[in-house]
Symmetry: C2
Subunit: 549 residues, 2 copies
Amino acid sequence: KWSFGRFLVQESHRQDSANLLIFIMLLTLTILTIWLFKHRRFRFLHETGLAMIYGLLVGVILRFGIHVPQNMSDVILSCAVNASPATLLVNVSGRFYEYTLKGEVSRGKGLQVQDDEMLRKVTFDPEVFFNILLPPIIFHAGYSLKRRHFFRNIGSILAYAFMGTVISCFVIGLIMYGFVSFMKVVGQLGGDFFFTDCLLFGAIISATDPVTVLAIFNELKVDVDLYALLFGESVLNDAVAIILSSSIAAYQPAGDNSHSFEAMAMLKSFGIFLGVFSGSFALGVATGVMTFTKLRDFPLLETALFFLMSWSTFLLAEACGFTGVVAVLFCGITQAHYTFNNLSPDSQDRTKQLFELLNFLAENFIFSYMGLTLFSFQSHVFNPMFIIGAFVAVFLGRAANIYPLSFLLNLGRKNKIGYNFQHVMMFAGLRGAMTFALSIRDTATYARQMMFSTTLLIVFFTVWICGGGTTPMLTFMTMLDGSQRRNTKHESAWPFRIWYNFDHNYLKPLLTHSGPPLTATLPTCCGPLARCLTSPQAYEVWTQHNVIQ
Amino acid sequence: KWSFGRFLVQESHRQDSANLLIFIMLLTLTILTIWLFKHRRFRFLHETGLAMIYGLLVGVILRFGIHVPQNMSDVILSCAVNASPATLLVNVSGRFYEYTLKGEVSRGKGLQVQDDEMLRKVTFDPEVFFNILLPPIIFHAGYSLKRRHFFRNIGSILAYAFMGTVISCFVIGLIMYGFVSFMKVVGQLGGDFFFTDCLLFGAIISATDPVTVLAIFNELKVDVDLYALLFGESVLNDAVAIILSSSIAAYQPAGDNSHSFEAMAMLKSFGIFLGVFSGSFALGVATGVMTFTKLRDFPLLETALFFLMSWSTFLLAEACGFTGVVAVLFCGITQAHYTFNNLSPDSQDRTKQLFELLNFLAENFIFSYMGLTLFSFQSHVFNPMFIIGAFVAVFLGRAANIYPLSFLLNLGRKNKIGYNFQHVMMFAGLRGAMTFALSIRDTATYARQMMFSTTLLIVFFTVWICGGGTTPMLTFMTMLDGSQRRNTKHESAWPFRIWYNFDHNYLKPLLTHSGPPLTATLPTCCGPLARCLTSPQAYEVWTQHNVIQ
């Protein structure tokens, strides 16, 4: 009996290796094709779109090509417990085996699940996305953010990211609720679909993807301020969507009858949202600032420390009940702004390259996994009407975000957001990794499954069609309107100027080795304190500089 | 009910984050202390020893400092199945929950296990060591091997690694069998302990650790050939030990009565050993050679591809039933020899730094985890008599490996292995990551638990005492014997010379862009073939070179 148990474990180990191997082969193939594309200067398909296509192909092969033998290793136990425990000890004729909860299998699928052992095996724990794959992507986004232009447009970016995402979420939610109500009347709906589900769908689908934006606009020469606007929006977007969806989900299971709209609970959700966001923000900035690394002589140690601190920010936030992804984003921005200057040149290269590589791998993994999921996921619910509704809602939601807000922002901005650029923002709102990760997180109910399947289609559509079409569209736009690149220099709103001065005169000298020493910027009465807080290196550089002058 | 289930999952997610956070904090602390040590030039304690101490401290805190609340989320089910299925579906009042097998809980511990939920949570799946932590360490060892000196001494290295490890395994096995038999008579033994268990213990404990050897001897100026000997032995050692132990384990569960010694089965094990080793070797070399990377213009893609190919070697070997670690070792050696020359200079730096970092993190993680395990592992069996026996056996086993083999090898070697160096090899046979990983892989039975606890103590002892003492010992030795550094240059055995010429004239031109083109080295009749196989770059370089001459 024991050797049989061992055999099973060994078999499953081999199976795991084979599954992981499939993904690595996929990634290898993607890399080779990307290289070919870059070499030949193809641009009509982005690398993430490519990864998705390969994933799709492998999904088709796994689904239809391989005969899956009936696997009898699943056993259904009925038991008297009335909750699902996290750990199960099973007493098999005197020996105890430990089982861990993997998740709820959808109602009625319990018996059917046995059939496709192979396919199910290729499915990862959704938490892997949140704990391992998303952090490097988001961190890299923060770390490689062009901070100067980001901070200069911080007001507009925050408006798009916060108000815009909330608007989009509610517009999509309301439109979907209309569609769903209609479907219920017509009898097209196969299960429950509450208003909160609609709102959740709105939150999930409102997260636009920074990855493709970064890739496409980096190569083209667009107005840097407008680029910062687009990129900043899509990065913060993710943070807002993740917190929005989790606060909607927290509001949801209060009781089976309360799926209706309540102003009080709504307010509570808003409170949770603010609390979690500011908590995550504070934590990210705090740990980002804390990573003074002074191990200058040992680049390996320095890089390792940097990497560990970034990851521990994520884990700390998760352990505190905040949102790790948001914390990691602001940690990345802070580290790039302050800590990066403290690193030795060798470590600067190393950390950049490391995060670049991690980001690249994680990104391609997610997108090829997305392609795979279309065929390997067991409980797809494709409802044509819901899908059409979703496409309409996503389009209108994006429009309701961009155009009114741009109009309002243009009232206050000196560097106006042109109509052409508004169209570009409308068009470049691709849905990507975050949307996928949010929708795969919970696929237990009928509503969630339908949402997941539809989300997948929307991601495919936007990445392939919008992603591929952005480059031609942009060249067309910039040809039309060459006036956009005029007045970009030296335009700063007053809050930005105040912040810049404060940062340059006090924070940078305090936290890094660069900038003027505090002795020069603080009033003379604070002399001794200033000298003690300034790093000796910065002080020396400054003194030499003044003597020479 | 559903929300309760969700809550549990969320709670366990938070708990996981907190656990991972503990480790990351540990690593951060270790890095900071290592930096302090390097800065102050302390040498009496190696960084791995330091990581272990921190691990120990955290283990003590977790064990005694934190009050662990009684966790009622575990449920014991008794059921009628007579084997342990890999997946379990539990029907909880109409909903199906899926559970996956985590492993067997030790006999009798089934009920006790609930108490220390927190401690148990910090325990990782042993397979994590083999699949995630060991590969980068071993790959790095292969990649950073000084190949010239390694190949020059390949005969002696293979002798130590193969014959030496087998000798050590059997000597330790026999001595332990004596001890165990004696313990059985005296009544000190609390469970079964067969001869195969003794042999397995011998195999596990015979793997010496390249990590510390690399670290200690790199800083000191030792004769490079002798260093290659020591390092090469300790690297290949691991490969031999891992295959040896798995072939012993495969031989073991043939039936409960056949734990006795059988010549036939022994021979079969030997066959398995040879098959697995040569298979893994061939696979590693093949994939190492296969990674022609020609994506020269895109260092990111190149690095990613290099990384993925190395890891897929590991997975491919595991999926084929070979030993991933061995494959990865030879893949590393091959890639360093051939593929490295094909990389762009930027990628050469990147890959080196990446593997260095991964190795550093994995190594420190393993060693601090080792420290933690001493207190957090639930089923320790510390038997003083067995421990004493093990220490004696390990000492004698190492002696039986080094001294007789050195004597035999010295008969054929021109550059003799001096007595002093034999003592160093004897003393520097530290037990480390591989021994730990092999012994934690299976801790189901009484025998295995006793082996695990004892192994842990041996690792602690060797890393702290031997590792810390090697530097003073070496300085003492080299002071005594300055004659060792004489005749190291240009001494090659004839098989090495043949190999070197073949490699330089045919393999290098074929597989890399460096070396003379095949047109110059192959006979003229093969002209067209040679021209077609040589890379254009190498050909150009060579032609220019000749024209100038």
